[in-house]
């Protein structure tokens, strides 16, 4: 048994005990033969991970411990054994998922995704609309402001000349007339500007709506993550944490804190480029 324990030293004590019992059964000629010798390619980890011990899964150590024993099974049966075994494992994973209630959770999650996509499309739509409203309003208001500024500057220059006694009475009359017209026209322009400012303000109403929608999606992502993590802890080999931000197309940095591979403001961009001699 020395070889067996050294091979199986990564396994749990219960698996070891199971192993012992199977070896004992095998050695007993009267006992019903256990599942045929299994392909040795199955990694020890997958055995250790499967919770409820199934005979079809456990005999792998037998094959390992007794290399000669594996030869008992004719090689042409290897493929079928493998398929049967995969079938077993699939069935078992399915059962375990159902026992733990994960299948319905996964189902919920899967059905929540299309909904989340619709919500995100809605957010994209609202924000675009808002941006366009604000831009349009600005484009309308700016010329009005510029016109008032230009006219006022010109009138002011004229009045300076009036006060410097540089104008004939006719010219003065003309300036007074233009000033009167200007003052008459100002309220209409300020009202128009004002209503554009209101429009810009109202265009921000999307924030409330998108905020709510985004919160819902964040909650969904969180619960999805929790469920998947639970599932992984239960069933999967340890995952290597994916490196944040591979490649060159990552979009905006949502959280630059604690990362030294990104810049967080324009000064850092400039410093970096300068340090490289650009």
């Amino acid at each position: 048994m020395e070889t067996a324990s050294s091979h199986a030293d990564n396994d749990t004590p219960e698996l070891e005990a199971l192993f012992e019992s199977i070896v004992a059964a095998k050695e007993d000629p009267g006992a019903k033969p256990a599942a045929p010798a299994l392909p040795r390619t199955v990694p020890a980890k997958s055995r250790a991970r499967i919770k409820s011990p199934v005979v079809a899964v456990a005999p792998a150590p037998v094959a390992k411990a007794k290399p000669n024993g594996a030869a008992e099974s004719p090689p042409e049966d290897g493929g079928r054994d493998m398929i049967e075994r995969i079938g077993h494992m699939t069935r078992q994973l399915h059962d375990t998922l159902r026992e733990l209630g994960y299948d319905s959770l996964v189902e919920q999650a899967a059905s929540a995704i299309p909904d989340a996509c619709d919500r995100l499309a809605y957010v994209a739509h609202l924000t675009e609309q808002a941006a366009n409203r604000a831009l349009s309003a600005t484009e309308k208001a700016k010329p009005l402001q510029e016109e008032m500024e230009r006219d006022a500057t010109r009138l002011h220059a004229d009045w300076e000349r009036v006060f410097a006694n540089q104008m004939t009475p006719e010219q003065f009359k003309e300036v007074a007339e233009r000033t009167r017209a200007y003052l008459k026209g100002v309220p209409a322009k300020t009202q128009a500007t004002n209503s554009e400012l209101m429009e810009i303000m109202m265009a921000q109403d999307f924030q409330d709506l998108t905020g709510q929608v985004i919160k819902k999606i964040t909650d969904l992502a969180k619960s999805l993550e929790d469920q998947l993590v639970a599932l992984l802890i239960e069933h999967a080999v340890p995952l290597k944490r994916a490196d944040a931000g591979e490649g060159m197309l990552n979009g905006p940095v949502i959280n630059g804190e604690g990362r030294d591979d990104v810049v967080t403001d324009q000064t850092q961009v400039d410093n970096l480029l300068e340090s490289l001699g650009f």
């Binding site: 675009e128 941006a131 366009n132 831009l135 600005t138 484009e139 931000g245 060159m248 197309l249 990552n250 979009g251 905006p252 940095v253 630059g256 591979d261 990104v262 810049v263 967080t264 403001d265 324009q266 961009v269 970096l272 480029l273 490289l276 650009f278």
Partner: protein, 132 residues
Amino acid sequence: MPDSDIKFLVVDDFSTMRRIVRNLLKELGFSNVEEAEDGVNALQKLTAGDFDFIVSDWNMPNMDGLELLKRIRADERLKGLPVLMITAEAKKENIIAAAQAGANGYIVKPFTASTLDEKLSKIFQKLEQVGA
């Protein structure tokens, strides 16, 4: 001071961003501005029209801004054009890659009007020095 008739091509897949850049450029005195929605579209316009300055996003469908920049630098007729990148890509790797590919400036979104003004002036200054 640079000529206010200088012709800009603003490349971005988001129309709102193109609009904002166009308005900012107008504010800075440059009203001769055309737009392209991605690198492919930009290259078509560049080869067809006499542009003087390119302001480009990075992440775009069909052809991204870095590829556009490389194509411009590889094109005998276009390679002298100044290219200013305005992008949300903020990894140092990106900034270095853009500089090495021959970008004349790099602005990270979100940005302000004064940043754009400053970068443009800097690029014009350098171009004048080279030209002088």
